[in-house]
Symmetry: C2
């Protein structure tokens, strides 16, 4: 008879929740990304998930986007963070006296966007962000450092990407040079959509902005430039001597030199003038990485340069550059395409099974294995020996040790390699080296 | 002239936010705890911060505690998790078919309690939880495994604790034996307060429950029993032959044997019949760890055995045992008492300073250092050489490498040990071994 008082266990839709095995893989990816950030001298911060609405909505003048989770607690208006950038701005503005600049920080944490649930979109997802914030100024090598992070992060994850890089000053300056300065933002919106809506429609939309066909064709043609830095730069560097345009060209040239010095694989970066990145706040370098074999994943990592991080909170001018990986979505895409590394059913390497009345000896042995770095456990359940062996098999445990009274007396134990079914009579030390050998071969 | 449009950057009160330096230490503590959980064959899960209110409030019949952050999004009633146990119950109930039991999981994550802000209390804090969930039954060695985790976690953190252990069946059974079964829960509430309200007041309150003075004295006297397992067990094991009481005694005896086999330092665990742990859901083993030198910190880690994890969500009987560290509060206490390990101003081990026009060479060298595991960076700011040296000094960077055109030509670089002020002319490889030597000595 079913219990009618039971509440059906469900989670909110649009929230990722993994099996323990897949979580192991996810956590390893986080660890690898973290290690890249650390090696590159970025330091961690961990801001709260909740912020005062006044702070989080400063940019929109307090208007609440319907995506943002917000609520009142007592008299306090609270929002859940929807990215890690606004909290960073608040943090840097609050602590600017004690931080040393350039301030290189990373933060890996969950952010919240209550958008309509759809495949591949999550309402709670991990962002892995690294930013460099300057005080008053920040030279171009900082941009190279962020692009280097992208390269190293995806190398660490063993994912083959191509990072498409541009500099927004190119298009800003080009619009200026064509006498279209006041229409520049609208033009960029359509140029940004070219991959979605196609070349012809983009042309049409730009002409609709009261731009001559000739100029529209020029604009569409420059955003189609994509290739090696040397090639694209040589094609576009003298299109106009507009000051902003030439600033963009010079920044790209400097960037390219440093990227070379950093020994970044030249096949992994392209100069792609079509990279715009919708958000208005990018002011110079911009980049978007795509997975080489799976362009349909879209941008798996993006970032760029912004002139002023915390203008809502402080008079200090704090230019920055950053990169961000949306890990939850990426993980989901890898999973759906069978591109995750092999994940273990269990992380346990050794199960010790007591026979007769040897539980204490089993725990004593288990402690010694763990002290030597082996993930070991005792199967102390009340099930039969056969059931325990079957369980170890099902969980794909590599080694099982069987400990009966005879083994306790002789201190020679039966170690079974579950993959080969080979069973050996070994001392503790011999067992340990057998298991560690297996570890090291993995 | 101050900008009047600025929003004063503030965070919500009661939310911990650390400097990057202290965050490094916090993260290292998390990593150490995680490593203990892993070594002991616990696997990770990561449930959402948000849950359906119906799920999170199942226990209270839907009533919302004023501590819980909750809100509506569209038609959905949502709560922020206030612990990791209810989400675990939901997770296990949802996935019981695919999990293998005993299911050993750890989760380290933020939980939310909007209680009145006060010193040492946080509204957002990390819980580090490890639990073992059985299917239908779970033998006592599981309790020993959790107590072992407490021991190993605090060893890893280099914090000297004493874990006070008891078994609630002792007091349940003793009340039964004294004919006070129906008053048992009320009696336990007062016995739990003895440290706070004192022995005399406890006696008074219990007598007020219509308990004879003689029995009240017996009850207060048994909760005062505290010492080594052998000593306390010999004092109390034949106080009554009540079945529940003897079940408690037998469970404690078995527990003690396994803890010995696990080689847990006998000075780090005591049998303390006064440990009750308010929450009603504990049904057997209970424990609370205190810091040896700072009992005023209170319980820094607690846990115990519960008969049924997920009774609200499933008919399956899922007994469990778990432990939990409230890391945010513990970190705050350690910090306030200068008990944190030394934390670095910066994690950078080497700053490379370009002289003349050597930026590219600096980045090339920096890449090689990083590939060899050295946290290295180039100081590419536009400040003077002197200012850069001063900055490295202020940030307590151990090594500075100075690279001018001469150094680029000769491939012999100036490596300065900032602590000793010694400056050596070294090749890349010599510099690397000098720096790695320093790493290994730390």
């Amino acid at each position: 008879m079913p219990n009618e008082k039971l509440i059906s266990p469900r989670k909110l839709s649009g929230f990722m929740e993994l099996s323990p095995s897949k979580q192991v893989v996810f956590d390893e990816m986080v660890d690898k990304i973290k290690q890249v950030f650390k090696t590159n001298c970025f330091m961690p911060i961990d801001t709260p998930v909740l912020e005062l609405s006044e702070i989080l909505l400063a940019k929109s003048g307090g208007e609440i986007d319907k995506e943002v989770y917000h609520f009142k607690k007592g008299d306090t208006d609270i929002c859940m963070r929807y990215d890690l950038t606004v909290p960073l701005a608040r943090y840097v503005a609050m602590n600017s006296e004690s931080l040393s600049f350039p301030f290189k920080r990373y933060q890996i944490g969950k952010v919240y966007r209550g958008e309509r649930a759809q495949k591949g979109r999550f309402r709670e997802f991990y962002q892995c962000d690294a930013d460099i914030i300057g005080n008053e100024n920040l030279p171009i090598p900082a941009d190279a450092e962020c692009i280097n992070l992208v390269d190293k992060v995806f190398k660490a994850l063993n994912i083959d990407i191509i990072n498409h890089i541009s500099n927004r000053n190119i298009l800003f300056g080009y619009c200026e040079a064509l006498g279209l300065k006041d229409k520049c933002n609208d033009i960029l919106i359509y140029l940004d959509k070219i991959a979605k809506i196609g070349k012809e429609n983009t042309l049409k939309e730009i002409i609709n902005l009261d731009v001559s066909k000739e100029k529209a064709v020029k604009l569409v043609s420059i955003v189609e430039k994509c290739g090696s830095f040397d090639k694209v730069l040589s094609e576009i560097d003298s299109l106009t001597d507009n000051e902003l345009y030439q600033k963009g060209i010079n920044e790209l040239k400097e960037l390219s030199k440093i990227l070379n010095a950093m020994n970044i694989d030249q096949n992994k970066v392209v100069l792609d003038i079509g990279i715009i990145r919708g958000q208005n706040y990018y002011t110079g370098t911009v980049f978007e990485a795509v997975v080489h074999s799976h362009p349909e994943f879209g941008t798996v990592c993006g970032g760029g340069r912004y002139d002023n991080l915390a203008g809502y909170f402080t008079d200090k001018k704090l230019p920055g550059v950053g990169m961000s990986v949306g890990l939850t979505r990426l993980f989901d895409q890898l999973d759906n395409n069978n591109m995750l590394p092999a994940y273990p059913v269990s992380t346990t390497k050794l199960v010790i099974i007591p026979l007769d009345n040897t539980l204490e000896e089993c725990f004593s042995l288990c402690t010694q294995f763990k002290e030597n770095g082996v993930y070991a456990e005792v199967n102390y359940s009340e099930r039969s020996f056969k059931a325990k062996m079957k369980d170890a098999n099902k969980r794909e445990i590599p080694f099982v040790m069987i400990v009966g009274e005879k083994e306790v007396d002789s201190k020679i134990y039966s170690l079974k390699n579950m993959a080969t079914s080979e069973q050996k009579q070994l001392s503790f030390n011999e067992s340990l080296s057998e298991i560690l050998k297996h570890y090291n071969n993995q």
